[in-house]
């Protein structure tokens, strides 16, 4: 059984884990001199709550455990955050993190199913994860299993039509074990989501598709944990958590600075970032 279930860390401890994931993220992206720090850092509290807050039932020693909860990172460019969480959970050695994006590494630039234990889907071509999550949730029902399926999307990603195909479908199959979390960091590669092709009224759209919708501060660990617990309450529709976040969160010069959507920090910037993320 998952170690996460037996001893859930305190919120203070979770904050420490979140800082540690952020340090991994900037180090691995700097080592690769390539990657997406902005959207990785914005997702850290969400991923911390899932992996370390007693939410995901998982076992790093048995990544194929049929009853494990599923986590699908649909916004695949944020995968450094997931790699950091998987390593800290014990799926693979922490020392492997700095092989990110190097030839012969298991840590591909975007998630690759089968390349690394704990990766449930190949993503990075945006818009596909929620459909895959529906497949997992239906399989659970067919097999009489009780695992839950969590899919993390980006807000910019929700411009993809397939997201709304899946959004239409999941409530019609009453997939209450499916939870979509949107990391609403308000930016996409070319600029602000609001300026490029606005999603607003975003929460109303999900409600109109008949999802149970929660809007939270995606950096408030208590709020994230409460929302994830709320999603597990019995109801007959899936839950969508819109987590309002700050792109680049935790590193002052990356926060809301879209230059760091897909750019690695240089050596000096890395030192500044790490000093801001000290334990």
């Amino acid at each position: 059984m998952a170690s996460a279930l037996s001893a859930v860390p305190s919120v203070h401890e979770l904050e420490g884990i979140a800082r540690s994931l952020r340090r991994h993220i900037v180090r691995m992206i700097a080592a690769a001199n390539s990657g997406h720090p902005g959207g990785s850092l914005s997702a850290v509290e969400i991923i911390t709550a899932l992996y370390f807050g007693g939410v995901l039932r998982h076992d790093p020693k048995r990544p194929d455990w049929p009853d494990r909860d599923r986590f699908i990172l649909s916004k695949g460019h944020g995968v450094p955050a997931q790699y950091a969480a998987l390593a800290e959970s014990g799926y693979f050695p922490v020392s492997e993190l700095t092989t990110l994006r190097q030839v012969n590494s298991r840590l591909q630039g975007h998630p690759v199913q089968g390349s690394l234990p704990g990766i449930e889907a190949s993503t990075g071509s945006l818009g596909q994860g929620l459909s895959i999550g529906i497949g997992h949730a239906i399989a659970a029902r067919l097999d009489g299993r009780h695992y839950r399926t969590y899919v993390l999307l980006g807000d910019g990603e929700c411009q993809e039509g397939q997201v709304w195909e899946a959004a239409l479908t999941a409530p019609n199959y009453e997939l209450s074990t499916l939870t979509a979390i949107v990391d609403v960091n308000r930016y996409q590669l070319d600029g602000a989501v609001e300026d490029i092709n606005s999603l607003e009224p975003f929460a109303d759209k999900w409600r109109a598709y008949r999802w149970h919708v929660l809007v939270i501060d995606g950096h408030d660990l208590v709020a994230v944990l409460n929302a994830l617990h709320d999603a597990r309450e019995p109801r007959d529709v899936p839950t969508c958590i819109l987590a309002r976040t700050v792109k680049g969160k935790g590193v002052t010069f990356m926060e809301n600075n879209n230059e760091f959507h897909g750019k690695a920090p240089n050596k000096e910037q890395l030192e500044v970032a790490l000093s801001q993320l000290e334990e």
């Binding site: 049929p66 071509s125 479908t169």
Partner: protein, 316 residues
């Protein structure tokens, strides 16, 4: 006197029956359709196993993504739609969700080729083989008649990995025995000869047999290979045919580029090069019309195979 072949059922109808039969024994088989269940015959399965059947409406991309998730959990999802929509609209999802992770997703593309007829070009799939063959690890198969389709669906379930099956809309002449053995990647020789080899799949297999019969009347014995599997192509059968017959006609209901003709040429070029002539749609789209009228107008009949045979024999 033209060879007459008994008319059978459409291969899509045989697909539905085979899925139903396999679904009885194997509870991991699930089916998804995108609002064409009565046309693809996935409904044959769906009406018996409603709990394992998902008609999600008109959303092919989501259908492929769902299949990816189901296959990741050990299910054997069969996704059905018109071939044009399954491949063209679901292509990136097939790339990311089936080919790249090499998942056990089975794709049934119905109404393949121009023989869908009156509905016209938007519904015609003439690119599907090129697209499916481009996906690493995919098996690509076009059975010729109802019996080989039944065998192909069984073979697809036995195979652990992604498979694309093309189904046809019109009734297809019977060219195989009811108990035909079909192995994915292994051609079925329907007629032996040493004058040339006609390689065909789908509806064109019957046309190849008719053409071979007429060639025999002129003293030319043609070997006919039902090359139901385009990928992996049966390179051994092709190399043997090259050594023993020395010339090829390849006939298919697909664009010139990226279909059976390309696969045969690639294979022979690296084993036993020989002259080849091609019978296909060319580099264009067709139009609305009766299937037989279209196949005649766009050059995919026994007559066209005969003309191609004359051309290739002149090059031999």
């Amino acid at each position: 006197m033209t060879l007459t072949l008994p008319m059978g059922r459409a291969t899509r109808e045989a697909y539905g029956d085979a899925l139903l039969e396999l679904g009885k024994a194997n509870r991991d088989i699930v089916a998804i359709d995108a609002d064409l269940a009565k046309s693809t015959f996935s409904w044959t399965f769906g009406k018996h196993y409603p709990e394992r059947f998902f008609n999600i409406g008109i959303q092919e991309a989501n259908m492929v993504g769902m299949a990816s998730g189901l296959a990741s959990c050990g299910k054997i999802p069969f996704i059905s739609s018109f071939a044009a929509f399954a491949l063209c609209k679901g292509f990136d999802q097939l790339r990311m969700g089936a080919a790249y992770p090499h998942l056990n997703v089975k794709v049934a593309g119905s109404h393949g080729g121009i023989s869908i007829g009156e509905d016209g070009v938007s519904q015609m799939s003439v690119e599907d083989v090129a697209l499916a063959c481009a996906l690493p690890g995919f098996i690509v198969c076009i059975p010729a008649d109802e019996h080989s389709m039944t065998a192909a669906v069984h073979a697809a379930v036995r195979h652990d990995g992604p498979v694309y099956l093309r189904l046809g809309r019109p009734k297809a002449p019977i060219v195989h025995q009811r108990d035909v053995r079909l192995e994915l990647g292994r051609a079925i020789q329907l007629r032996d000869g040493d004058g040339l080899t006609i390689v065909a799949n789908g509806l064109l297999v019957a046309q190849a047999l008719i053409a071979a019969d007429r060639l025999a009347e002129r003293g030319v014995e043609a070997r006919v290979l039902d090359m139901h599997t385009i990928k992996p192509i049966d390179g051994d059968a092709l190399a043997r045919a090259s050594h023993e017959t020395g010339a090829f006609v390849v006939a298919e209901e697909h664009l010139h580029h990226g279909g059976l003709g390309s696969a045969v040429a690639l294979s022979l070029a690296s084993t036993a090069p020989a002259p080849i002539e091609f019978v296909d749609l060319g580099d264009r789209y067709a139009e609305s019309g009766k299937p037989d009228d279209l196949l005649k107008k766009y050059g995919m009949t026994a007559d066209n195979i005969l003309a191609a045979a004359d051309r290739v024999l002149a090059r031999k």
